[in-house]
């Protein structure tokens, strides 16, 4: 067997693929953060909580109303997105124009409230959710067994990421968005409802997080605290990519998935710390991240 640094090539290929899959996941989560920061300059520390809500709503909808996975894939993000818009309307709007640090503190508080309340209702052991039948099983790729569900995750996550990038960077709607957030008075003059645009953008970023949450529901333990640890990892991804760079968040997400995957192979204990190490190194060389514009 071919070996690379004492690890068989087959194992390494498997780890790379796993890394890309996890990376697609990170990309989806960091994309929402990047949209919210890039367009609204809000540092959304409630992003992990929104991811959790996506997963939790999926489970609860199934338990209460028998809503299946496919429906949840659309309904849960819409519900959570609408909830996000409420937060924007009632809370975030009141601190518009203040230092972004306040948005960080406000959303951190919101996350504590959401997680704390749901912990009291649902406990912390996790809620049961079964894999949809059509995704049971997988294919043997020779170097690894690939569950169908993971294949689905990578395809759908990348599609959504690319779609979002395309809409924001390449379409007319995207150009309104960018212009509206850059010079709101001018756009208001053109007859565009900027406050609505802001709410919708925040809601959309939150939807992306919730969508990742729905994807996570069948494969990870669904608990009210599932988003609190992933939050800072995803933040690190966005910072490495360059706060607000949409493309940067996607590429960095995948890259970090792979780096983390390789660390899990060569020195597993450091796999949660490696992203922070990369972040320090990147910011030393490029103060605004890999794809960030110079401040």
């Amino acid at each position: 067997m071919t070996m690379i640094f004492g690890v068989p090539l087959a194992v390494l290929s498997g780890q790379l693929l796993i890394g890309i899959i996890n990376g697609a996941f990170y990309a989806l989560l960091s994309l929402g953060l990047a949209v919210i920061f890039g367009l609204l300059k809000i540092i959304n520390f409630a992003h992990g909580a929104m991811y959790m809500l996506g997963a939790l709503v999926t489970v609860v909808l199934f338990d209460l109303l028998g809503v299946n996975y496919w429906v949840a894939l659309f309904v849960a993000p819409v519900l959570v997105g609408a909830f996000g818009m409420l937060i924007e309307y009632f809370l975030l709007r009141r601190i518009a124009g203040q230092d972004h640090i306040y948005s960080l503190l406000l959303t951190f508080g919101v996350a504590l409230i959401i997680q704390g309340v749901l912990t009291n209702i649902y406990g912390v052991s996790g809620l049961r959710y079964s894999m949809p039948d059509m995704f049971k099983g997988g294919i043997n790729l020779g170097f690894m067994f690939l569950p169908y569900y993971r294949a689905w995750v990578i395809v759908v996550a990348l599609l959504v990421c690319f779609g979002t990038w395309f809409i924001i960077e390449k379409t007319k709607l995207g150009s309104y968005l960018r212009a509206g957030t850059e010079d709101s008075q001018l756009m208001q003059g053109f007859g565009i409802n900027v406050p609505l645009l802001v709410s919708l953008t925040y809601g959309f970023g939150v939807m992306l997080a919730a969508f990742a949450g729905v994807l996570a529901a069948p494969i990870y333990s669904v608990t009210p605290v599932m988003g609190s640890n992933i939050l800072i990892v995803v933040f690190a991804v966005v910072v490495i990519g360059g706060m607000g760079s949409i493309g940067g968040a996607i590429i960095t997400g995948i890259l970090m998935g792979v780096i983390e995957g390789l660390t899990k192979t060569f020195y597993p204990p450091a796999s949660s710390a490696v992203i922070f190490l990369v972040m320090v190194l990147v910011l030393m060389i490029r103060p605004t991240g890999l794809f960030g514009k110079e401040a």
């Binding site: 993971r150 599932m226 450091a270 949660s272």
Partner: protein, 402 residues
């Protein structure tokens, strides 16, 4: 008061006690402080439902002991040893709390036991897993009631090896608890003629286990052992099921799983997993009767920790009634002298190091076809006798054992 003075007073007190002086319940009240994680990661293990179990015990006991009131105070430990220290210090120094019960996070249990030793009060730890609590951290002022890592490793690992699972690959949570389990499992596996072919230490906590499961599959080991707890274990099991670990012929052995974890996973995902438990609600009429009452109060089936809190509180109150005293050493001695026979344990015994040793059980998670309802989850395969299960005193590093 200085430490020395306290020791002297307590020495004098016990001397008086021994000479038959009047024992009494201080200020005619037995005050119990319930300290546990009420809102964080370990909430479901003991938490608010543990308080319910404790209150059930007091009610069943009759609400008073030898005419003295029984009072309960409770607090969230916030999983923080400093917050817990402040709470317990105030409890023992100002509020005259006689017994501190509950306690999950090992850092909390160890910190609290030191304060109890300093102030000569009693603690009964039901939630913690660390076996160091009655080993290098033992004190004459606490009892560790329900389980610890030693029998968990012992029960599951030796059973699995005996059934032919000779080669093991361990996924260890990279913190003291995981390391302790790993060391215990390694010892047991090797003693039974098995071999650890690989170990991977994953960060605590980890959400995505696919990378580690892949490494475990590539190792070709007979058994994949999970030396972790809580969300780490449930995530690992979910991922193992997704990647077809058991279908490919490997056995999954979880070293610490609570009923609440298995309930969250469901029989479909968790079926066939072997685990060690100190108690299960559906073992006999006695356990079922109590569990039904518990479920009426809380809406869920009790874990072994909940049952242990009930049982230990009952034992404590019995000892107070028998000695007519709430002095820590008098009560502890009485508890050590009285074998425990109730719905939680048969012939349980509290040793000099504070370890309550009792029979443990090797269980297997039922298949969806066998499971009749959402809480009907375990088949008990074997009873592990108390003497085999726990760390023998001959290996103890506890200062009370000589």
């Amino acid at each position: 008061m200085t430490m020395m003075k306290k020791l002297l007073t307590s020495a004098v007190a016990s001397a008086l006690m021994a000479s038959g002086a009047q024992a009494a319940i201080s200020d005619n009240t037995v005050k119990i402080g319930y300290l546990a994680d009420m809102s964080g990661t370990y909430r479901d293990l003991a938490g608010p439902n543990g308080l319910t179990a404790l209150e059930m015990a007091i009610k069943d006991f009759g609400g008073t002991v030898n005419g003295a009131k029984i009072e309960v105070v409770s607090a969230d430990d916030r999983n923080s040893p400093d917050t817990s220290s402040s709470t317990v210090r105030r409890w023992v120094e100002n509020d005259k709390v006689d017994l501190v019960a509950g306690m999950v996070a090992s850092s909390v249990s160890i910190a609290v036991s030191k304060i109890l030793e300093e102030n000569d009060r009693l603690g009964i730890i039901s939630g913690s897993a660390a076996s160091s609590i009655t080993n290098e951290h033992c004190t004459p002022n606490h009892i560790h009631y329900v389980y610890d890592t030693y029998p968990l490793a012992n029960g599951t690992a030796s059973a699995v090896v005996k059934e032919g699972g000779k080669t093991w690959y361990l996924l260890t949570a990279d913190y003291a608890f995981g390391h302790a389990l790993e060391a215990d499992v390694t010892r047991v596996v090797e003693a039974n003629g098995g071999e650890i072919v690989g170990t991977v230490r994953h960060p605590f906590p980890t959400q995505d286990f696919s990378s580690f499961i892949l490494q475990a599959q590539a190792s070709g080991a007979d058994v994949v052992g999970l030396a972790s707890a809580g969300a780490d274990t449930t995530n690992a099991i979910t991922t193992a099921s997704e990647f077809g670990v058991t279908q490919a012929g490997q056995t999954l052995a979880a070293l610490l799983l609570f009923l609440t974890d298995v309930h969250a996973l469901g029989a479909e995902t968790a079926q066939g997993i072997q685990l060690t438990t100190g108690w299960y609600w559906d073992m006999n009429d006695e356990t079922r009767e109590w569990s039904d009452r518990f479920m009426k109060e809380t809406g869920v089936r009790p874990t072994m920790v909940h049952a242990g809190i009930y049982s230990s509180t009952m034992q404590y109150l019995n000892a107070v009634a028998a000695t007519g005293s709430d002095d820590a050493q008098t009560v502890r001695k009485q508890m050590m002298d009285t074998p425990i026979n109730d719905m939680f344990a048969k012939n349980g015994k509290i040793r000099v190091d504070g370890r309550m040793v009792h029979d443990m059980y090797l269980a297997e998670v039922k298949t969806p076809a066998e499971s009749k309802n959402e809480w009907d989850l375990y088949k008990i395969l074997r009873t592990i006798p108390a003497d085999e299960a726990y760390r023998p005193l001959s290996e103890s590093k506890c200062k009370l054992v000589n």
